[in-house]
Symmetry: C2
Subunit: 407 residues, 2 copies
């Protein structure tokens, strides 16, 4: 028997419930080791300690001459040029009174402690290798244009924390540290079911009273982009026994069930009805759009029941599922949050947290795209941010500062 609450819960309370629902999925057997590039977009399952210094050895920051700083007085000095040090070589000790041509990234010869860029030398080019030559160099302090071993990161220090989202830069760091694979959270398997007698598959004829299913595409794309493994069933009709049978068939193979539609207070609420006998709660969330929400489990599998309008679906995903996945599994990356100024006024139901869609410009102002209606999928497709209007706000003037989440 499902539970219907009438007290509205806040956005934060509902997000806490979603976290509580999914936290048990963070288990050791759901961790896998993947080659670095296969781990792109995943979350790190364990902290990584640097096994070596970065850089691994003191090296030159410039093409120039390696020298002993004590050899050159303030007025400069003429030094004998010895064999050049290409990148990748293990150079011999630099004899006192000599200078070695050194390339960017090449190891500083033992004894050398500074580099003078070739542009500051006289002559300002490298002599042909193998021929006797001297070079006049200005004084340089110890450490001049030298990248010390460990100056970016020391062996033994934490390199990346557990839960880090693995993008190009994080994978690049792991490669620099010599890793070839990395422990990550396994992609969760999601069963995505859209429902509704009014909903038909794109490509089919559209009869009167029917609309094309955009929720399925919208949410599957959002979930794939977030690194989830998605199974789609066809669209479920509004017959509860049909939906229940479909869920029973697929539930054993997935980590989470997400449905759309049928969670409101109308006369035909297929998801509510199909959940009868299961531990699923239908508590309205003080949010617009996306207020009606179901949460619980079906045959022991966690289930989230999103409302049926496309904008409500997207908002439900972005406000609840996505941030909780980021927090628990390090993937997807959290949405960047910035402050922006409204380009125009807006009204909001004071008892609800309103989520509007908008376009943030490079000047830091945000324009509304369409009205508050949850069916405005064209307006949504032209938005790049979600505008957060907290509970307790009835109106905001043009110029008001708001929090926006970048899509």
């Amino acid at each position: 028997m499902h539970r219907t609450q009438t007290r509205r819960v806040s956005v934060e309370e509902h997000r806490d419930k979603v976290r509580g629902l999914l936290a048990p999925l963070r288990t050791p057997d759901r961790v896998e080791r993947l080659p670095l590039l296969a781990a792109l977009g995943r979350g790190l399952a364990a902290g990584i300690t640097a096994p070596l210094d970065l850089p691994p050895f003191a090296n030159s920051q410039m093409d120039g001459f390696a020298l002993r700083s004590a050899d050159v007085p303030d007025g400069g000095a003429e030094l004998r040029v010895v064999a050049p040090v290409p990148a990748g070589a293990a150079p011999a000790e630099l004899a006192p009174g000599t200078a070695a041509p050194i390339m960017t990234g090449a190891m500083l010869p033992p004894g050398a402690d500074a580099v003078v860029p070739v542009e500051q030398a006289v002559p300002d080019s490298f002599p042909p290798p193998g021929q006797p030559a001297t070079v006049r160099l200005p004084a340089a302090p110890a450490g001049n244009f030298v990248r010390d071993a460990g100056s970016d990161l020391r062996a033994g220090e934490p390199a990346l924390a557990a839960g880090t989202f693995l993008g190009p830069a994080q994978l690049g760091l792991l490669a620099a540290l010599g890793f070839t694979e990395v422990p990550v959270h396994r992609a969760l398997a999601i069963l995505l079911v859209t429902t509704g007698d009014e909903v038909v598959e794109p490509g089919s004829p559209l009869g009167p009273g029917k609309i094309y299913d955009s929720n399925g595409t919208l949410l599957e794309a959002s979930m794939r982009q977030a690194g989830l493994a998605v199974t789609r069933t066809g669209i479920s009709t509004d017959r509860p026994e049909e939906l229940a049978a479909l869920l029973r068939r697929h539930a054993p193979a997935v980590d989470l069930i997400v449905t759309t539609g049928g969670v409101s207070k109308g006369a035909y609420e297929v998801v509510r009805q199909a959940m009868d006998g299961h531990d699923v709660e239908f508590a309205p969330v003080a949010m617009q759009p996306g207020g009606p929400q179901g949460i619980g489990s079906f045959d022991g599998v966690p289930v989230l029941g999103f409302p049926g309008n496309p904008v409500s679906c997207l908002v439900s995903f972005e406000m609840f599922l996505r941030p909780v996945l980021s927090e628990l599994f390090g993937s997807p990356a959290p949405r960047p949050v910035v402050r922006a100024r409204l380009a125009e006024p807006l009204a909001s139901p004071p008892g609800k947290h309103q989520v509007r869609r908008g376009t943030l410009g490079p000047d830091g102002t945000v324009r509304l795209e369409g009205g508050a209606g949850s069916h405005l999928v064209h307006a949504l497709a032209h938005s790049n941010v979600l505008i957060q209007v907290p509970e307790g706000t009835a109106a905001l003037a043009a110029g008001a500062e708001v929090e926006v989440w970048m899509l």
Copy 2:
């Protein structure tokens, strides 16, 4: 024979050159039609016109009663309840003096022009279907809680412009319009070659003077994330004839060659040397890091020669290749640009456009991650923005406003 310029070109000039290099790849034979979900992350190759109205028909925004607004005077009226209209049904005309229970999203019956939410009705629930009932409803203006046909988008209007990046919301819109596939730009095929005698594959032993190749992982991950198809060769040594042979072997199969390293003014610059006899220009760009850049073509295939340090590689990709791909092919999505305030002062070479790495907080301030050095891959991995310091700036104080690009 390659050309070496000494005049520094600006960031914008070099980006123009990259655009000129890649624009010829935008050809009709490089357009393919993909199913919607396979098109996730691609750029739209042709504008899309709406084939139908969105919504396709006038429908109810609430669970409530559909009525003729003229039937209810200011004080309200008692109406006879007729058969309910579920979503997906094609309802019969609403007789004058009656009200039809209607579900959210259901088609407004012909004759009806307004909806009163069930909470405002007396009684405030739907009567059991099939039994005679009346309901008392307050007056409602025509259009009350009605979503008009075409109010989001009208048939014949532009839905998405050519060049639009296809994320979840854009694909959701295409599904709502009934499309099952979409014309997109084919993913460009990239040959990525890292070079350097000092560079070894992660997982191998690290001898003195050697470093692990992070550029390959960093750039391949960036390119994959940007929707490109990447072929990696092994690391090329610093022998130009070896690199040239490797490029000749792979060039016929790719759209673009990207190399790292060997483009500076040192004594061993393998990419410069391997490009001898090809139309490749090595003009320093007034940018830090990432100043040394090669651009041109090798055996008729466009080539970009990025510098050898990891941060320089990432900055080259983000400043030149990524924005040009966004512009020409609609994919990847452009980096969001926002204004932020520096949390700390910085110094910059006034003759160069400096790109620093930083962390943007939700309060709109940006902290520097590491110094200006282009080897700081650990600091890069902890950054979420690139901070743009334009040419002509020698220093910025804490609190100064800067443009940041969100990674």
